[in-house]
Subunit: 383 residues, 2 copies
Amino acid sequence: MTSAPSTAAGGAPTAAGARRLEVDLGARSYPILIGCGLISSPDCYAPYVRGRQVLVVSNDTVAPLYLDAVERALASLDIHKVILPDGERYKDLATLNRIFDALLAERLGRDVTVIALGGGVVGDMAGFAAACYQRGVDFIQVPTTLLAQVDSSVGGKTGVNHALGKNMIGAFHQPRAVVADTDTLSTLPDRELAAGLAEVVKYGLIRDPDFVDWLEASRERLLARDADALAEAVERSCRNKAEVVAADEREAGQRALLNLGHTFGHAIEAGLGYGEWLHGEAVAAGMVMAAELSARLGWLAADDVGRIRRLLAGFGLPVDPPPDLTAERWLALMAVDKKVQGGRLRLVLLRAIGGAVVTADFDPAALRALLEQTAAASGRATA
Amino acid sequence: MTSAPSTAAGGAPTAAGARRLEVDLGARSYPILIGCGLISSPDCYAPYVRGRQVLVVSNDTVAPLYLDAVERALASLDIHKVILPDGERYKDLATLNRIFDALLAERLGRDVTVIALGGGVVGDMAGFAAACYQRGVDFIQVPTTLLAQVDSSVGGKTGVNHALGKNMIGAFHQPRAVVADTDTLSTLPDRELAAGLAEVVKYGLIRDPDFVDWLEASRERLLARDADALAEAVERSCRNKAEVVAADEREAGQRALLNLGHTFGHAIEAGLGYGEWLHGEAVAAGMVMAAELSARLGWLAADDVGRIRRLLAGFGLPVDPPPDLTAERWLALMAVDKKVQGGRLRLVLLRAIGGAVVTADFDPAALRALLEQTAAASGRATA
């Protein structure tokens, strides 16, 4: 499933040495470009910008690092920009409205292209603004975190949080292109690199057991930020995601597999307050919980749970949930999950490493027992 | 193009005597049901509700009149509701968030059906909330104003206003059904009935000259709220709209014809402050302006402009714009129109009564002359 670096086959030219994948969605198909130095290459944008106006959306952490390079690459266009405060706690309707303010104050038309320069929060908000502005304008994802490069920038999920639930307000809106410049990972804090690796591991666990082997063998190169290893991890993650999204764009079925660890993870994020744990950290602990529940149900060997724990811990990720939530609180937080159907919770669980299923067909007592053990481990009893 | 009242042909049963039209959009096709007493008929909802949960969204004017009847019709379901303040000035992100608050506080799942009970503002906001909640849930339109029955409830345009532009934030999201109960028009203030008739006239002017003849002949019956005349006007309007929407759902081309009078009208609404003039009133004056510009360009006979003026004035609608805007202000307000492409304004103009075109190919001097005449008529000079 790996492929050697290659120049673009068909379509627009890309920077020499860039890896290129296609997300196959008919009229909404688009490329993912992966490589070093892409954000400063005009060729990575020009084929995907229809009009003359672009609005670059970034945040106050990323803009000082990369906005100049992006502006130089877009110099032939009419460039506008809006810089948001950095952080998941700003991923809300009020901050979204600042993007609409900029679009309208500068009278940008329906042929504007929004360019999301930043991590997952910027991408989700800029993409949602593009989905809603004049009922839909183009956008390009330029993810600058590992998590955004391997996950949130691909597949068209956009949106904001609500005080009562994460990502509860949003739209499916596919970008025109994803430009993943692996050079931008050099400025990423260690903790955020690890959080991105949690989503990388996820692809292996749900559908690509060979990738799990490769990740175990590549731990040191990844943590040392070896350029080839990172590009390989990004490409292979995106290839897995692109295949799943192409088969089920609107999450009628198998796309939900991409939520391994996320129902538990969202409960952790909401329970502690968004931003306390990074999303990838919560997903890491959540994947271990999913594995442990799978083992309690007799679906997964205890050895496999241990292997998953070691892989994640080896990347510096948390493998136990925070000790602050009672079982009742867990269940309340999980009840708002988007996978709930007819009041019944569905979870992504593991039948094997590399074989995930979405199911409501599990013993609720096993879930409760897991949550009570989690709460008891912290010395707290349930209500 | 008229058709006799009929029961449903194929599909779900509807109340006896209901007229039924289909909006043909492939997998997203849906019926428009038109008739007396439909809102209290369970059969008008049940076939279009997938889960057990419904959220009725209404406002504090309509809810006291019709909410009980709707609740009785939905009695077999799990009913939730949210009542918004009435008025175009509440059509914003903050009020939209109250719908999300209700959906999340009551933990309604992805299989919830949102039911919009009210006029165009309620329909646009409830529809947009349904488009965004969990990235898209079902909704049913139950329009209670003539304007909503003939226009805003059909075709899937949803959204809210922004301080800098009307309907600038939104989504295309088709309802599962439209339930247009003509009995609800009995409680409509005269001014709102007339505002709805402006959109009815619009269908005739853009593509149905026989309908213009019929409207001229039916003026007294419509103003007297004759049930058959109103049902005929609603059905024929919806048939025209359904045909246009089926041919061009996302407004890549001819759907823009439905905006006859709207670029001028939106400028009137924004220039005076939303809510000062009703939308239909602004569209009526805007259609006359479009007709006058068409005549200045030599595209439309002066007699036809007079005929349009008389038809609209006969329904009690304004046929001259408000005297408060300078030509510069008009142009600034019109520049934010969604039909602007590459910085160039496009307008819907008339080649004949019943023959509209969308075009940027007009002499800007003619537009300016029209606007200056409009401003001069009020004794104000341009800057």
